[in-house]
């Protein structure tokens, strides 16, 4: 597939990529991205698996999961709905964070490397 890249990229050697990888700007990008992505991914995934586990053990009418909060809407329903809310909040927050942080660092890195 390399033949389809422009000259600038296709003439780069393994060492050139290594230089970028060791660039402090790239290191910063890598660090901040990893922290954000791993943290939020783990949080949302663990939060999700609480739902099937809690629901699986909450077949008793008196349990906390089935406690009626607003009218006939139980805590379990609100918990399930909160999954949707959390997903959308993470999506919006990630889009905001990425525009503000990772896209900016990438842009700075590329202009430093004169690759834009």
């Amino acid at each position: 597939m390399t033949q389809q890249f422009n000259n600038n990229v296709s003439t780069m050697t393994r060492d050139d990529w290594g230089v970028i990888a060791r660039n402090p700007k790239f290191q910063e990008l890598h660090r901040r991205k990893a922290a954000f992505l791993i943290g939020w991914w783990l949080f949302s995934t663990l939060f999700y698996f609480c739902l099937p586990i809690a629901a699986g053990y909450a077949t008793d009418q008196g349990s906390l999961f089935n406690k009626q909060i607003i009218g006939h809407v139980s805590l379990g329903y609100l918990f399930a709905l909160s999954q949707y809310a959390l997903c959308l909040i993470i999506a919006l927050y990630y889009a905001y964070w990425a525009n503000k942080t990772s896209d900016r660092i990438t842009k700075e890195l590329l202009s430093e490397l004169k690759m834009t």
């Binding site: 393994r14 991914w41 999700y48 629901a55 089935n66 006939h72």
Partner: protein, 623 residues
Amino acid sequence: MKKLCSIIILALCMGAVAGFWIPADTFAQAGPPQLQAKANKALTMGMFLVIIAITLYIVYWAAGKTRTAADFYAAKSSITGYQNGWAIAGDYMSAATFLGMAGLISLNGFDGFLYPTGWMVAFVTVLLVMAEPCRNSGKYTMGDVLCFRSSPKPVRACAAISTLCVSTFYLTAQMVGAGKLMELLVGIPYSWSVVGVGALIIIYVVFGGMIATTWVQIIKAALLVGGGVLISILVLAKMGFNPLRLFDEVANSSFIQDWVRVKHMNQAVAQEGFDYGQRFLEPGLFLKNVWDQISLGMATCLGTAGMPHILMRFFTVPNAQEARKSVVIAMFLIATFFILTTVMGFGAAVFLTPQGIVAVDASGNMANPLLARFLGGEFHPLIGDFLQALVCAVAFATILAVVSGLVLASSAAIAHDIYTSIIKEGKAEQAKQVKAARITAFVVGTVGVILAFAAERQNVAHLVALAFAVAAAGNLPTVVLSLFWKRMNTAGICAGLMVGTFLGIGLVLVSPNMQYPKLIAQADLKIVQTLEKKDATTLTEKEKGQLANAKASYEKNKDGTSVLGLDKPLFPLKVPAIVCIPAGLLAAIIFALLFPSKREEDAFDELYVRQNTGIGVAAAVGH
């Protein structure tokens, strides 16, 4: 569109506030309504023809623009993030989502709402882990991403096998579902609808490639969300736009109370003080095994990010920013639709009663079309017919969009990964590549139709869970590890893909999804014994029939074994994900460590820089 969405949300919020002051009048009914299943054939066929005409025009327009492999597989990466968001939603939400989920909710209450949550949460993984790195490091297929720094031939071959397995399972389930739905909805015979759907999809993909597929998916998503919003508004209008009242009506409906008591709890007499209506709003009526539930959660939550037809959509946008935007938009569309499904499902349960819905079709798939007919019929019978026809048309468009996405992903795996990259070693001309892609699309579509005929009488529901389990066990770990782990290599990728794929298939073959004649015979024996204990003269006609059937079935099944010659399932769960995901991940890591490759480790810097920064992607796309 954004304005429209905010107006709808505002109206719902205001309705909820206003609803607090509106006194509730109950929807008391004398008996379960007699529902008519078949839609108005002329009206429905008319709508189908409109959809077919519009999509064929799109194909005609797209065919003129499909000249190179980049056009065929990735729409020249010229789709905008906004368009791709709608297309992802259209690619992802199947007819099972539209009809099946509303049916599940209308018959099983809370569990029907719990079931799709994993399909939604899955998009966090897609957004955070997969979308942007895949856009930055791949070209047309998952194989491109995987073989960036590994030996292309074995890796592409394994990726193509896994893609084909996942797509074929999902495709078969969709095609069989399509045939049965059309039979039920409009009364078109199974074989006709399978051939018709197959022919349309082959035309879309062969002539229009990714450009036509994308627009079919966008139109379908718009129809789906539009139809869902329309029916939900009609349901909520009857509730004074107060969603809370919908819950009250469900809990207070005497039909739903009876349904839960008799069908779900097997109680002939009501237990004093037990709230059967509220029980409908609690978990455990449909998903009974905790471990099955967790396993299904893992398959859906992690499998989506490994579905080849979803991954392929990220190659249609020009850069990582657009890929990100498209996932966020798709997430909003999917969340909106899933939440509206609750409104539709509960609306069906309240207005049509679960007893009325199962009288038409035991699976509950007809809940939504029947609800549309009921709601429209309140105004005028013709409007009822029209709305039911509209729902059928949405289901039809849904089938077309999802299956064409799958056919395209499979044909890319064969034509791009196997033919162009392995057999021709990447040296095929553009015209030849496109020709190969078109031929494979035709073959894959035809095979889909043949499989649908072969599987007509089989239970295919477990194939969907299997497809997601294989994608979660094989595709996701290998793609993530090769993008983020320096020591990942050819051995790890091939081992991960093969273990994930074949362990998943193997476990399903020995799971309770298969038929075990000896278990059926045992159940029959029980019926025979209980009925024979009774005095023969007191047996009713119905019981006599039951006895004869059970005896015949016992004789037929007592010496039989499952496909693999088993008497009872070896693996206790219906969804294999909980075992095969860790196994696939471990196999990938262990084999990567056992067979280290210096060359591939050295190439990690390039991949890692590219997938994070997108360097080189503009040039690759612009070609």
